[in-house]
Symmetry: C2
Subunit: 485 residues, 2 copies
């Protein structure tokens, strides 16, 4: 006799099938986090890989059972996580998700709507339309018909922005600052467009005069990509002035606000994004300052008509007669076909917290960044790169070996053509990179790195609204301890 | 005094924060499914959109609370779902996910590893490496160094296959059957490649002689894309013969096995995929015949070296000195940057069920398709297109009005250039499209549609291993009832 198939997550009995399995998952998450004990597992890549390899066959001929598999693998991944909910895990734009958003995401998995046709996602597609309209209106409060697409993140949003420009203009040239995200270079390559022109950004932001100089030398259609929240330093390009330069040169403006965009929710800080709505397209990620589990990307467009070029027909999904009969045509809402309803967790978060609640979380992280900058300034052994604009703090030990000759490991931002001074800061940079790796290997802290002013800096990206000044003091102590060894 | 931020999903206290929220979600999933009562909500798109709009502001100034938001929105999406776990929801390659895979997916959201750098995903990235190696070896059992990338689905996998071919050869021409997925046309457009040459497939599969004829007329590099599991009919192109034709003409072969690939797990049916490993790249989706919630796409490559062209450096993620010091370089594993660990649910499923367990699920769905074909053949009012190869069954009422003149709504597969006979089957096709829409609008069944043999057919795609012969009989009764109205 054949065994019954394992239970499904949907239908009227799915919830009861899920309940005991979720208990196993929650226990494994808890026990795994306890076993880890810190922000990441100690031992570095080899030790972690060895522990995963020791779990046994990935694809056995005969399975174990659901509870064993969940317990074993969830425990392993939790024990071996770099957990952004730990306040000493602060390297990247790698957010600690809110429990309510994660709980909502379970429903997306259980129901498994696919957003490429109405008859796979009736209510989910209606909800997505409402949420994208509301978020587009946050970015473009004065536009007549803004819209937004849900993406897998800033990389896809930036790629879509270039694609839309290509479809408007043909072989468009992208102009970016050296401070821009690497995804612009990759998108141009993917789309068969010319390599972007990179304008040096020695001060970390795109200078309007430098942009004007670059535009002067270019013929043909141009898309300028500015950044509101740079990956390295959390800086915001001077958007109104850049928009003026673009207007004067007949160039279009895109703003990559993957990081900074959610600052719109903060009454206190939203002025930082003045002029954002002068961009034709804007990238925003809610899996950064929006506390969503990945992915929760958006590309907002000032005019929904700009999206028409993405229209695409596949008769099994959006035959003309079905569309005429009133079935919504969703295939132009993404370059993907099957598509998870990432919008559900976002919808729950917006409704539960409101603009004010999200703004308060933004404000909390902004304050933590100022707190960390204060601590660095008070530490005689540390140098602060600058007071933070968003939630990124760059600092470095000043007690490390002073500049000597030799090959530098200071890193210009990807694609940079700037001739930033490197002034031989070799061994300091090497020491600094080693400090970061040591903290990782010992499982003590996850800090990032960034090149600025020709040197390498330690980078803390503060996205955890629960972090306390005491946590930040521990971080400082750890860095100082690593420096003096 | 400022309110404490809402709890996070991670850390040692995340599990306890999640528990009550998940109870709310499970209750809402259960109640929503009960309120729906059938495979999808009645009333059609307008009624569903109106119910979603009536829920109130998407982005209020002040939020409600997490439990209210979860209860309201999860209930709405569950009540308004086209639920693939319902046996009468059988239109698309839209799988009912296994409860154990959905439970595992919760851990991915809670821990939120991002797969673009080791220091955001230490154990998750190690696990992904193991799972992709194991699955690549299923596709390429005799290859020395196969590999696989995790994607958002077949659309991205096919796009990557074209991109890899472009990077090997430059301006490569894609040759597809008229039965191929629409994503090849979209990928060529995206990548700036020539529009694919489409070979007519009047019998539903790509004929080797027809392919040879098409290749004879082409100069320059060519990538042939065959299909193992067509979207319209679930057919498998004759892969060994097509591989021979490609070899004779110096063309490369890609196989889109998004649908059929997991048949490899079935001892009974895996012979259907003989020759699959002659393809240079193979697309497989585990969110179809693998019962994973979206997304669980893969692109398998025979030789891992083919992936080197995706290598990409961004110093904040994979600086050279970090890579030299032993930190894995993950950025070339995807075109995305932030990336959810979709592999975790797959790993849990493989371990829990094993190859045999997954094969049994494949076999069950294959049997259901034969059962449905039997029922159609026994129904005097219905015509069967053909005995099913995989799990797709095409059929149509023969009692509908017979062919008359006028504009046809029969649909060639997207991009088809074939001159399939349409023989004026107008009103039958219109009736058939209307039957499908009526079943949708009444909330009674979700059936698909497909053009074949110059006519429109109802399509049932059977992916639910819990479906019974009784369920299939109800489906037949519903169609017959709609026909005779």
């Amino acid at each position: 006799m054949r065994a019954a198939p394992p239970p499904l997550a949907g239908g009227t009995s799915g919830a009861e099938a899920l309940r005991p399995l979720l208990d196993t998952v929650l226990d494994a998450l808890h026990d795994g986090a306890r076993a880890r004990g810190g922000p990441l597992p100690p031992g570095g890549p080899e030790a972690v890989a060895a522990r995963v390899a020791a779990l046994g066959a990935v694809l056995p001929e005969h399975g174990t059972d659901p509870h064993e598999a969940l317990r074993t693998l969830v425990h392993a991944v939790a024990e071996g996580a770099a957990d952004p909910a730990h306040p000493l895990c602060a390297a990247h734009l790698h957010t600690p998700p809110l429990a309510l958003a994660v709980a909502a995401d379970l429903a997306a998995s259980a129901l498994n709507p696919s957003m490429d046709s109405w008859d796979q996602a009736p209510a989910a597609s209606a909800l997505e339309a409402e949420v994208t309209a509301a978020l587009a209106a946050e970015v473009y409060p004065a536009a007549g018909r803004p819209d937004a697409l849900v993406t897998t993140g800033g990389t896809e949003s930036n790629q879509l922005a270039l694609l839309l420009a290509r479809e408007r203009h043909g072989r468009v040239r992208t102009v970016v600052g050296a401070n821009a995200h690497h995804s612009f270079h990759r998108a141009a390559w993917l789309l068969g467009l010319p390599e972007p022109v990179t304008v040096p950004t020695p001060d970390g932001t795109l200078d309007p005069a430098a942009l004007a100089g670059a535009l002067k030398g270019l013929d043909g259609p141009v898309l300028v990509a500015a950044t509101a929240g740079t990956t390295d330093e959390g800086l915001i390009d001077p958007i109104p002035a850049l928009a003026d330069v673009c207007a004067a040169h007949g160039a279009e403006l895109h703003v990559d606000a993957a990081y900074g965009g959610p600052v719109l929710f903060s009454r206190t800080h939203r002025h930082l994004l003045d002029g954002l709505d002068r961009a034709r397209t804007v990238t925003v990620d809610l899996h950064k300052l929006g506390w969503q589990p990945a992915a929760a990307g958006l590309l907002a467009v000032r005019d929904a008509a700009d999206l028409n070029v993405l229209g695409h027909t596949a008769d099994y999904l959006n035959a003309d007669d079905d569309t005429e009969a009133g079935l919504p045509d969703l295939l132009g809402r993404s370059l993907r076909t099957t598509r998870r309803p990432d919008v559900l967790k976002t919808a729950v978060t917006l409704r539960a917290l409101g603009r004010a609640g999200l703004g308060a979380l933004v404000d909390a992280c902004m304050e933590r960044a100022q707190d960390l900058a204060d601590l660095v300034e008070k530490s005689p052994g540390l140098q602060l790169r600058a007071r933070p604009t968003l939630t990124t703090v760059l600092f470095r030990p000043v007690t490390a070996a002073e500049p000597t000759d030799g090959a530098t490991v200071a890193e210009p931002t990807d694609g940079a053509t700037s001739a930033e001074p490197t002034d031989g800061a070799t061994s300091t940079d090497e020491d600094l990179a080693a400090i970061r790796r040591t903290l990782l290997a010992e499982g003590h802290a996850v800090l990032g790195r960034a090149g600025a002013d020709g040197r390498l800096w330690l980078k803390a990206t503060l996205l955890n609204p629960h972090a306390t000044p005491g946590d930040l003091a521990r971080l400082i102590t750890l860095v100082e301890g690593s420096t003096h060894r």
